[in-house]
C-alpha cells in the first residue's frame, strides 16, 4: 500500500496526563475526600481510637483481598475465600483445643489446609477446565460445610485460646493494631511479588493475553493454579486473624467475606477482565469501604443497610470503571 505519511508516535496531550494521574491516584483522592467529609460532619470520626477501629475492621477483608486481586488479575475469581476463612480458623482452633498440636504449628497447619483448598480450586479450574465461578461456588458450599463439621465435632463452637491470639487482638505497634501491621506487611510482600518477580510479571501477562503468554512459553496452567493456592493461603491467614478477633469460632464466620474482598478489588480499579490492576490500590479500596461502613455505624445506621450500601458501592465502582474504559478506547 502507498503511504502518505510516516506515523507519529502518539503525543501526550495535557488532558491525557490528567487522566493518567487520576487513574493512578484517583482512589487515594476519594479516600482523602471521604476522610475530610466524615471528619467534618461527625465528632467521633477523626480520633485515634476510631482510626484504630477502622484499621482493625478492614484488616481481614483487606488481606483476603490481596489473593483476590491476584486471582482477578489472571482473569478468574474465587468465591470460596469466606468459607476458607471459616475452615482454617475452625481447623487451627480445633487442633489447639483438642491438644493435637501446640498453638504455633496448629496455626501453620490451618493455613496450609487453606492452601490445599486453593490447590483443589486451581486444579478443577485449570486442568478439568470448569469455570471459576462454578468451581468456587461449589467449594464455597462444600468448604463451609467442612468447617461447620469441624465445629460440630467440637460441640458447635470453638473457644479461641492462646497467647498468640490475644497478642494479635490487643497489642499495637507504633499505635497501629497488630492486624493492621500484618496487613501492611502482607501488602508489601504482595507488591514485591507482583511487580518485582518473574512470577508477578507472568501473572499480568496471563491476565492481559493468556494466548500470547502461552506462545511466549509461559506455563499458564501451573502459574494459574499457584495463584489460586496463594489466594487461599491468604484466606488462611485471614482465618488466623479472625480467630484473634473473635473469642469463639461459630458456623457463620466469614460469610460474605468474598464479596467484601471483591468490592475492595474492584474499587481499587482492578478490571474483572484481568491483566490490569495494582494491589496497592486494593488496600485503598478496602479502606474506602471501611470508612463508609464505619461512618454509617457511628451514625447509627443498621448493619443491614450497610450491607446493602456495599452492593451499591460495587455497582458504582463497576460503572466508573466502565466509563473510564469506554473513554480511553475511543
Amino acid at each position: 500500500m502507498a503511504v502518505i505519511q510516516q506515523e507519529q508516535a502518539l503525543q501526550a496531550q495535557p488532558g491525557e496526563r490528567i487522566r493518567e494521574w487520576l487513574n493512578q491516584f484517583g482512589t487515594v483522592l476519594v479516600a482523602l475526600v471521604l476522610i475530610a467529609i466524615f471528619s467534618l460532619t461527625t465528632d467521633h470520626f477523626f480520633t485515634l481510637q476510631n482510626a484504630q477501629n477502622i484499621l482493625r475492621q478492614i484488616a481481614i477483608p483487606a488481606i483476603v483481598a490481596i489473593g483476590m486481586t491476584m486471582v482477578i488479575l489472571i482473569g478468574g475469581i474465587d468465591l470460596s475465600v469466606g468459607s476458607v476463612v471459616l475452615f482454617s480458623s475452625a481447623a487451627m482452633n480445633s487442633l489447639i483445643f483438642n491438644g493435637v498440636l501446640p498453638t504455633g504449628p496448629a496455626i501453620v497447619a490451618g493455613i496450609l489446609a487453606a492452601g490445599l483448598i486453593g490447590l483443589i480450586n486451581g486444579v478443577l479450574i485449570e486442568k478439568v477446565k470448569i469455570s471459576p465461578v462454578i468451581v468456587t461456588l461449589g467449594t464455597m458450599v462444600a468448604v463451609r460445610g467442612l468447617g461447620q463439621m469441624i465445629l460440630w465435632i467440637n460441640n458447635s463452637w470453638l473457644w479461641v485460646r492462646g497467647p498468640i491470639f490475644s497478642a494479635i487482638k490487643a497489642d499495637t505497634w507504633l499505635s497501629l493494631p497488630i492486624p493492621a501491621v500484618i496487613m501492611v506487611a502482607l501488602y508489601v510482600v504482595a507488591w514485591v511479588i507482583l511487580t518485582q518477580t518473574p512470577f508477578g510479571r507472568r501473572i499480568y501477562a496471563i491476565g492481559g493475553n493468556q494466548r500470547a503468554a502461552e506462545l511466549c512459553g509461559v506455563n499458564t496452567t501451573r502459574d494459574k493454579i499457584l495463584v489460586y493456592v496463594l489466594c487461599s493461603l491468604g484466606a488462611g491467614i485471614g482465618g488466623l486473624l479472625m480467630s484473634a478477633r473473635l473469642s469463639a469460632i461459630s458456623p457463620g464466620v466469614g460469610q460474605g467475606l468474598e464479596f467484601d474482598a471483591i468490592t475492595a478489588v474492584i474499587l481499587g480499579g482492578t478490571s474483572l477482565a484481568g491483566g490490569k490492576g495494582r494491589v496497592e490500590k486494593t488496600i485503598i479500596g478496602a479502606l474506602i469501604v471501611g470508612l463508609i461502613l464505619n461512618y454509617m455505624t457511628i451514625k447509627g445506621i443498621s448493619a443491614h443497610y450497610q450491607r446493602a450500601v456495599t452492593g451499591f458501592i460495587i455497582l458504582g465502582a463497576a460503572l466508573l470503571d466502565q466509563l473510564s474504559r469506554a473513554r480511553s478506547e475511543s
Binding site: I77, L124, V128, K129, I130, S131, V133, I134, V135, L137, G138, T139, M140, V141, A142, V143, R144, G145, L146, G147, Q148, M149, L151, W152, P251, G256, F259, I262, I266, L272, A273, S302, H304, Y305, Q306, R307, A308, V309, T310, G311, F312, I314, L315, A318, L319, Q322, A326
Partner: protein, 334 residues
C-alpha cells in the same frame, strides 16, 4: 500431538454416553442410596415434598436457563426472592389487600430485573458484577427493612397455597407446570427465545444480522424477574411469612441444576428439557440429604461434594465429546 483413531473413537463413545446417560445414572444411584438409608424416601408424600420444597428452585431455574444460554449469569435470585417477599409482606401489612401485595411483589421483581438488565445491556457492565451486587444489596435491604424479623402474613391466600387438591396436587405444583409451559413456549417459539440462543452463540453476528441485542438482553432479565416474583410468592406462602433470610443460596442450586442438566456455561446451547432433569437431580439431592437427618454442616458438605462430582462428570463428558468431534472433522479417514 499424535492421536490414534481408536483413542478418538473411544473418547467419542464415552463422551456421548456420559452426555446422554450420565445424569440419569447418577440420579438413579442417588435415589437408590437414599431409599436404602431411609424407609420414608420412596413414598408418594415424600415425592410431593420434593416438588413443593423445591418449587421456588424449579421456577427460578427456568429464568436461569435463559440467562446461561444467553451468556448472562445471574447470581441474584435468592436475595431478590427474600427482598420481594419482604416487599409483599410490607404492602400487605400496609394495605390489607393480598392481591395488591402479590402484584406489587411481582412488579418489583421485574423492576429489579429491568435495573440489572439495563446496567448490563446499556452500560456494558459485567453480568457477574451487576448480579453479584444485587445479591448483596437485595439481601441487605431485605434484612434492613425488617430488622431481621419475619413479617407474618395472615391471609387465606397462604392457606390456599398449602392445600392439596384431591390429596395430590397443590398450587405450587401447578405453578411449576405453568412456569415451564411458559418457559418452553418463550424459549422455543418466540423471538425472545430465538435471540437468547443467538446472543449465546455469537452476539456480534447476531447484531450484524440486525437483532436488537440490547433490548432482548433486558427482555431476558424481565422474564427472569417475573419468574423470581412467582417463586417469591410460593416461598412466603410455604412459610406463612416473609423471611428476610429465606432461600439463602438458591441461586447456586439453580445454576448447578441448569449446568448439571446439560446446558453449557459457554452459552448458545442447552435448554429447558435439560434443566428439568437437573432440577430433579438437585431436588432429590436436597430432599434425600435432609430426610437422612443431615443438617447444616454435613448437609452442605455432602451437597457440595455431590454437586461438584456431577459437574465434573457432565463437563468432562461434554469436553471429550467436543474434542473428539473436532478431531474427527480434520482427521484423515473418519
Amino acid at each position: 500431538m499424535i492421536e490414534s483413531e481408536t483413542t478418538l473413537r473411544r473418547r467419542t463413545m464415552i463422551g456421548r454416553f456420559v452426555q446422554n446417560y450420565g445424569l440419569g445414572i447418577m440420579t438413579v444411584l442417588m435415589i437408590a442410596i437414599f431409599a436404602v438409608v431411609n424407609d420414608n424416601f420412596l413414598t408418594v408424600s415424600n415425592f410431593q415434598n420434593v416438588l413443593e420444597q423445591n418449587a421456588a428452585l424449579a421456577i427460578v431455574a427456568v429464568g436461569v436457563t435463559f440467562g446461561i444460554i444467553s451468556k448472562a449469569i445471574d447470581l441474584s435470585p435468592g436475595s431478590v426472592i427474600a427482598l420481594v417477599g419482604v416487599i409483599i409482606g410490607l404492602i400487605f401489612v400496609g394495605t390489607g389487600s393480598i392481591g395488591v401485595a402479590l402484584v406489587g411483589g411481582v412488579l418489583s421483581a421485574m423492576l429489579i430485573g429491568l435495573f440489572n438488565g439495563t446496567l448490563i445491556a446499556k452500560l456494558g457492565i459485567n453480568p457477574v458484577i451487576v448480579t453479584l451486587a444485587a445479591y448483596i444489596w437485595a439481601r441487605g435491604l431485605a434484612l434492613a427493612l425488617t430488622e431481621k424479623d419475619s413479617i407474618v402474613i395472615r391471609s387465606p391466600a397462604v392457606g390456599f397455597m398449602n392445600t392439596r387438591f384431591f390429596g395430590i396436587i397443590s398450587p405450587p405444583m401447578i405453578l411449576i407446570v405453568l412456569a415451564y409451559l411458559l418457559g418452553f413456549f418463550v424459549l422455543y417459539r418466540t423471538k425472545l427465545g430465538r435471540y437468547t440462543y443467538a446472543l449465546g452463540g455469537d452476539e456480534h453476528a447476531a447484531k450484524q444480522s440486525g437483532v436488537p441485542v440490547d433490548a432482548y438482553k433486558i427482555g431476558i432479565f424481565l422474564l427472569s424477574g417475573f419468574l423470581v416474583g412467582i417463586a417469591a410468592i410460593i416461598t412466603i406462602s410455604r412459610m406463612g411469612a416473609a423471611e428476610p433470610n429465606a432461600v439463602f443460596g438458591l441461586e447456586l442450586d439453580a445454576i448447578a441444576a441448569v449446568i448439571i442438566g446439560g446446558t453449557s456455561l459457554s452459552g448458545g446451547e442447552g435448554g429447558l428439557r435439560q434443566t428439568i432433569f437437573g432440577v430433579l437431580f438437585l431436588a432429590i439431592l436436597n430432599n434425600g440429604l435432609s430426610t437422612m437427618g443431615l443438617r447444616d454442616a454435613s448437609f452442605y458438605f455432602f451437597k457440595g461434594l455431590v454437586i461438584l462430582s456431577a459437574l465434573f462428570i457432565e463437563v468432562t463428558g461434554r469436553r471429550m465429546l467436543r474434542e473428539a468431534e473436532a478431531a474427527a472433522a480434520s482427521a484423515p479417514n473418519i
